[in-house]
Amino acid sequence: MIPAAFDYVRAGSADEVVAALAEHGDEAKVIAGGMSLLPLMKLRLATPTVLVDAGRIDDLAYVRDAGDHIAIGALTRHRDLETSELLGESCGVLRGVAAEVGDNQVRHRGTLGGSVAHGDPASDLPAVLVALDATFVAQGPSGSRQLAAAAFFEGFLETALAPDELLTEVRVPKTGPDGWAYQKFNRRAQDWAIVGALAVRVAGAMRVALVNMGPTPLRAHGVETALAEGAAPDVAAGYGAEGTEAPSDLNASGEYREHLARVLVRRALEGAQA
């Protein structure tokens, strides 16, 4: 399978990406590692006529201590997240879940920004960022703006990024090394999650997020509320499927996904509190 023909633009900086997007509009797509976009292009589900390669903008690949938060460049690869000592100490959940993405080969190429901008509800890391109330920084023709994770994921493969904007940075709170657990249920080791459940303690309160339980990554607000009101983890987990829109597909019916969500939330809560 070969992608449809396209013109290739290699960008040396975020400014060059934004300029190329301004010039080519909706016809252009940004590629970073290509782990999500290239499979779609090979299946001709995506047929951009201009491909803007951001993959060599090395100054957008970093994990930095920014005082009250950790700043991560959008071009930081999963491999660099899963081996980051700073992240291990300051936001262990992001480092740990990055190691669960795909397989070694995918993590050598795929980037945090690419995963976020792609907006796939079956991806692992967007759910982490929703749980952490991360902030995204996007650069467009009129400068940079910040977007809250809660308002970023709008639908299946749809985000609040404008067609002429580039995601440049992800900011996450310092949550420490521990106090989290991620439960990913799939049939083969490297597959996307059929359902995933994340529990992470942020500033003393337990946050819970779900993977592949709707068109976007979701917070399990029912579970969080029950916990805040003093419910035991196994009772709170009973609300794991509340407010979800679980899809039915070849792997699982929506009803089975709801069951998985409740079970996986319970296990994640037990793991995060252990």
């Binding site: 399978m1 070969i2 992608p3 449809a4 023909a5 396209f6 013109d7 290739y8 290699r10 590629i31 290509g34 782990m35 290239l38 499979p39 292009m41 090979k42 491909l51 390669d53 993959g55 491999r79 795909g102 397989d103 070694n104 080969q105 995918v106 050598h108 190429r109 080791a189 490297q190």
Partner: protein
């Protein structure tokens, strides 16, 4: 467009379309057919090669993304008649049957051992999760990778 890649230590330069996949560049332009295309959807790992020393699935990378970088394929591992430690271990431990996954499996193992020099069995099984083998049941592959780690 011209794409230059140092493949197995040799400078290659070929005029290819931007949509050319790295695996096509290696197999068709460089005529190195040891790298196989299996699933063509980045699931099976048969097309695994090293780019700048790290394993990647060459069916899901454009040749232009490797422009100016170095690539290593299965053909580049041995020194003359002397097999690479991982190749030798696969041979000695019967780590293959039909052989279709083997080039990718070996390259993934080389990258894994570079990152985790003294792996446990669990490390090997997890580290090779991106490579499928439909013959062996994996046991002898895992044994081979552990043997290669111990032999170095």
């Amino acid at each position: 467009m011209d794409v230059s890649i140092t493949v197995n230590g040799r400078a290659e330069r070929h005029d290819v379309e931007p949509r050319t996949l790295l695996v096509q560049y290696l197999r068709e332009a460089c005529e190195l057919t040891g790298t196989k295309v299996g699933c063509d959807t980045s699931s099976c790992g048969a097309c695994t090669v090293l780019v700048d020393g790290e394993s990647v699935k060459s069916c899901t990378m454009l040749a232009v993304q490797a422009d100016g970088r170095s690539a290593t394929t299965i053909e580049g591992l041995a020194s003359g008649a002397e097999l690479h430690a991982v190749q030798r271990a696969f041979q000695e431990n019967h780590g293959l049957q039909c052989g279709f996954c083997t080039a990718g499996m070996v390259m993934a193992a080389v990258s894994l051992l570079d990152e985790v020099p003294n792996p446990t069995e669990a490390d090997v099984r997890l580290g090779l999760e991106g490579n499928l083998c439909r013959c062996t049941g994996y046991h002898n592959i895992v044994k081979a990778v552990l043997a290669a780690a111990g032999s170095r």
